[in-house]
């Protein structure tokens, strides 16, 4: 029996979490069924549209073949069974963001066959089964004044309508809100590695979560914008449903809306039963055939996936499992890391900077990897300086974080406040070296303060002027005492 599935599992809560993740195929140039641009971002409302994606009378959809290729790649990456013949269905419901008042999607009942099913993604808390993945069209976008509940009107923008989506539906295998977040992060990295969905774009990956406790009715939480929010929303729901259970209030099947600002879920609609979408086969499209030959062609072009890449990082670069995991958690980071290492071979140092310090800082400051403006070459140079003991590790980190903070593309080294060597050991090394090379001056210094200044100059020269002045002076005094002590005996 799987942990936390089916039985009263984790913490005796009988927690069941399943996710429906909508991923836009941002790799495509055009929408799923017309030749409008798939990149609607930053366009004036209702300008990235045509008669097809606005569902004008008489128009017909024509499938973008590239979407099938992208979906096949996803299916392969998630170890799914790919259908030989898949088809499209209409999901009928009235909503102003749907220009046709139905959505062209896929279905797995009534003769419907989605593009792929039965896959899985491994997480640190076990394998998460994928129920199915399907192609569908994105609806338009509604804007409200204030909140969805209080707004006196809704504005509709169809620029997004018809953009190709792949919906990935999991089984209720997720063990915890944290596990859900990890799953999503991993999924995003996989999609980025196969190059079909750029998860860093706003709205490119969206998630609805289904959650139930104590074998109660399933509650669906919609409108979750980021992975962090998924974790928050699920935690909120667990607490809310626990409280309800304690108060012995029966939970109905319902859809709730995640209010990101107040960090609570609010009821959107209570469902008496499964909503009736009157699914039936889309008569304007012909079935998609996916031959074995086609699949093997796509397979041959599959790039390295995060799990394999992680293994390679551990094997070739000798970084730890943990560091490697974090690095491959985002393709951009993994790519950056490899570019650094190519420029200067210090994988362990660079890996730990990226995985611990840089990502840690980004998370704390709500920044993303896109905010980093310096190049892998730049970072590699810093690593070189550290390995050559010209600057300290902590000094280097200070420089790096400052560069991210200020959005700088170059590091500023040498300025006192950044370049000063404050590491006692490093300065002491320099002092000892200078003492060894200047025995006469050391002897003189015992009585002549000017000789101390000479030694000071030598230490600064040895550290290329970067030793912390007061520290150097202090350590010279300490070392002078140390060499005087034995002579007194």
């Amino acid at each position: 029996m799987r942990k936390g599935v089916g039985l009263i599992g984790v913490d005796g809560l009988g927690l069941k979490i399943g996710l429906e993740v909508h991923c836009q195929l941002t790799v495509l140039n055009t929408k799923l069924f017309c030749s409008c641009s798939s990149n609607y971002r930053g366009t004036e409302p209702n300008t990235n549209i045509c008669e097809i994606c606005t569902g004008l009378p008489g128009t017909l959809p024509v499938l973008n073949e590239k979407a099938v290729e992208a979906a096949t790649k996803i299916a392969l990456a998630l170890n799914c069974k790919i259908a030989e013949t898949a088809n499209f269905f209409r999901k009928n419901y009235f909503y102003p963001d749907l220009p046709k008042n139905f959505q062209i999607t896929q279905y797995d009942k009534a003769g419907g066959v989605a593009i792929a099913k039965e896959g899985q993604i491994g997480t640190s808390d076990g394998s998460i089964r994928i129920r199915r993945i399907q192609l569908e069209e994105d609806p338009g976008k509604l804007s409200y004044e204030g909140t969805i509940v209080s707004s006196p009107f809704a504005l509709v923008d169809y620029n997004r309508a018809g953009v190709a989506l792949v919906e990935i539906v999991t089984e209720p295998d997720l063990k915890s809100p944290k596990n859900a977040r990890e799953f999503l992060q991993k999924l995003r990295s996989i999609l980025e590695h196969i190059g079909v969905c750029d998860g860093s774009l706003e709205g490119a990956m969206r998630c609805d979560a289904n959650i139930s406790l104590f074998g109660g009715k399933r509650v669906e939480v919609k409108n979750i914008s980021s992975f962090k929010e998924v974790e928050r929303a699920l935690n909120f729901e667990i607490t809310r449903q626990k409280t309800m259970a304690k108060a012995a209030k029966a939970e109905g099947m319902e859809t709730r809306h995640w209010d990101e600002v107040r960090r609570v879920t609010v009821t959107l609609r209570v469902k008496e039963s499964e909503e009736d979408y009157r699914y039936f086969p889309e008569p304007d499209l012909v079935p998609i055939t996916i031959s074995k030959n086609y699949i093997s062609k796509v397979k041959a072009r599959m790039p390295e996936l995060p799990d394999k890449r992680k293994e390679r990082f551990v094997r070739d670069y000798k970084v730890s499992e943990e560091i490697a995991s974090v690095l491959v958690g985002e393709k951009q980071i993994a790519d950056f890391f490899e570019a650094c290492v190519k420029s200067y071979t210090a994988p362990r140092l660079l890996g730990s900077w990226l995985a611990i310090d840089i990502i840690g800082y980004l998370n704390r400051s709500e920044k993303t990897f896109a905010d980093i403006k310096f190049s892998p070459n730049n970072l590699a140079e810093i690593a070189k300086l550290v390995e050559q003991k010209q600057i300290t590790d902590s000094g280097a980190k200070t420089i790096i974080i400052k560069a991210i903070e200020q959005g700088k593309s170059r590091f500023e080294i040498g300025k006192k406040e950044e370049g000063a060597i404050t590491d006692e050991k490093m300065v002491m090394n320099a002092v000892k070296m200078v003492f060894g090379a200047n025995r006469k001056a050391v002897e003189d210094a015992k009585s002549d303060p000017n000789a101390i200044n000479f030694l000071m100059g030598q230490v600064m020269k040895a550290t290329k002027g970067r030793a912390d002045h007061s520290l150097a002076r202090k350590l010279i005094q300490v070392e002078l005492l140390a060499v005087q002590e034995p002579s007194r005996k």
Partner: protein
């Protein structure tokens, strides 16, 4: 004097013996004179038509190549999109909808030099067999104006019969080209499903319907088909190819004809079956063999047809919510569902609402298997039945309609009788096969239509048989 056929006008326009501008002007004079009574058109486009005619004249004078339909005035059913010309489906809900694009067939006709003279009346969204279910006005049968022209392409058939257009485009979901062609005494062809692009045809039931020509003779039908049948990448269900259908051979000497006994069942007027059998005898005299065939599943065709058509319609017509185009009830609704409910309540006619509700019901959870899925199963059986029959026969022949035209108002009071009258036409739509209706005598001055059906993509064979009958039955 008999009006010139589309073929003759195109030939005359090309060799300069006919002036397209004069043709169009004369035609609009006729429309002005007769359409007050017939009411075949919802919209006429005189100004545009004369401009198009002048363009063709200019081209001819410049010795540029002219198309196969050069100067031919053509009427287009009002459910086929025409760029810049209001397209309503004879529904209030599409009042004011001016498509920003031409349907593929319209584009192709224009490229061949055809002149669009107007948009013809129809049953709202194609739902009806009399053209009385137009939201605007009924069309009258030119042979006898107390009778309906048939439907749903009643306006197109009446326009061609009354010589208000040389040819017309109709659409056929369950007989909507053939029924009015039979009732008005003209030639109507429903092509094989997938032969003619549906891009720009405002959908009633996507899996059943095709655009096709309504003409005064078989040669014009073949000419029109040659101009509209082609592969269109904008329609995924389209598998058409360019072909010259005018080269059909009307040799029937070794033709094997099947006569489905279900096509002469109860409810078929004696005058109708007599007329068809007379024609069949003529074919036999010419050397064709005639044999009765039992197409058992055809008895379930009507039930299957109406469930599929209404189910698809309930979804297709969902987009008319008054939000983006066409009719909108402006008195400020407070929310989205009130707004679209109100617009649909006022915008759709009774017959349309009835079919949307029935279709919605048939697709509902719990009923889907019993209705929609079963209807699709029946459909597969009908397809198999026809395939089997065509192993033995080259063509199947029967009446187009079990009766001659109805009196105006006769069927609106008895909807079931109206649905029943489609019994001979819907099997071809379910099977996807081509079928043509040609004039075959008359009864009390009302035309009788003979229906010829052939295997998929055998339009040439169909036209050959039709051509022979047209010559011999005249």
């Amino acid at each position: 004097m008999k009006a010139k056929s589309a073929w003759e006008i195109a030939e005359g326009t090309r060799d300069g013996s006919i002036s397209p501008v004069e043709t169009v002007e004369a035609l609009f004079e006729r429309i002005g004179e007769h359409d007050i009574e017939i009411k075949a058109f919802i919209t006429t486009t005189k100004k545009l038509a004369i401009e198009q005619a002048k363009e063709i004249e200019k081209k001819r004078k410049a010795k540029q190549k002219l198309g196969r339909l050069a100067g031919v005035p053509i009427a287009v059913k009002d459910n086929i999109c025409t760029q810049g010309i209001e397209t309503t489906c004879a529904s209030k809900i599409l009042r004011g909808f001016i498509p920003p694009y031409d349907a593929t067939v319209v584009k192709m006709l224009k490229e061949e030099g055809a002149i669009i003279v107007g948009k013809t009346n129809m049953d709202e969204f194609g739902m009806g067999s009399t053209t009385e279910f137009s939201a605007f006005f009924p069309t009258r049968n030119p042979r006898n104006t107390s009778y309906v022209p048939g439907g749903s392409s009643g306006g197109s058939a009446a326009a061609v019969a009354k010589e208000l257009a040389s040819a017309a485009l109709g659409t056929d979901t369950g007989g909507s080209i053939r029924c009015p062609s039979a009732f008005c005494g003209v030639v109507g062809l429903k092509p094989t499903y997938g032969l003619v692009s549906r891009y720009g045809l405002i959908a009633y039931a996507n899996s059943l319907e095709q655009i096709g020509p309504i003409t005064r003779d078989v040669r014009d039908s073949s000419l029109m088909l040659s101009c509209i049948a082609a592969h269109d990448p904008m329609d995924s269900t389209n598998v058409g190819e360019k072909k010259d259908y005018t080269k059909f051979r009307d040799d029937v000497s070794r033709l094997k004809i099947g006569v489905p006994k279900q096509y002469f069942g109860e409810g078929t007027q004696k005058a109708v079956s007599d007329a068809i059998w007379r024609a069949l005898k003529k074919l036999e005299d010419e050397g064709a063999t005639i044999e009765e065939v039992d197409l058992k599943t055809v008895e379930y065709a009507l039930a299957s047809y109406y469930i599929i058509a209404m189910s698809e319609a309930s979804s297709n017509l969902a987009r008319y919510d008054g939000l983006r185009y066409g009719f909108q009830e402006s008195s400020g609704a407070r929310n989205w569902s009130t707004l679209f409910s109100k617009d649909r309540k006022i915008g759709f006619g009774f017959e349309v609402k009835k079919r949307i509700i029935l279709g919605t019901f048939a697709l509902s959870a719990g009923y889907f298997d019993a209705y929609y899925l079963k209807a699709q199963m029946v459909r597969s059986l009908i397809i198999q039945d026809f395939e089997k029959a065509f192993k033995k026969f080259d063509v199947l022949i029967g009446p187009t309609m079990p009766t001659t035209a109805f009196k105006l108002g006769e069927k609106t009071v008895d909807p079931l009788a109206m649905y029943m009258s489609d019994c001979d036409t819907v099997p071809a739509n379910l099977a996807g096969i081509p079928a043509i209706s040609i004039p075959c005598g008359s009864s009390n001055g009302l035309p009788i239509g003979m229906q010829i059906m052939a295997p998929s993509f055998e339009e040439e064979r169909l036209l050959g048989v039709a051509g022979f009958c047209e010559r011999e039955l005249a």
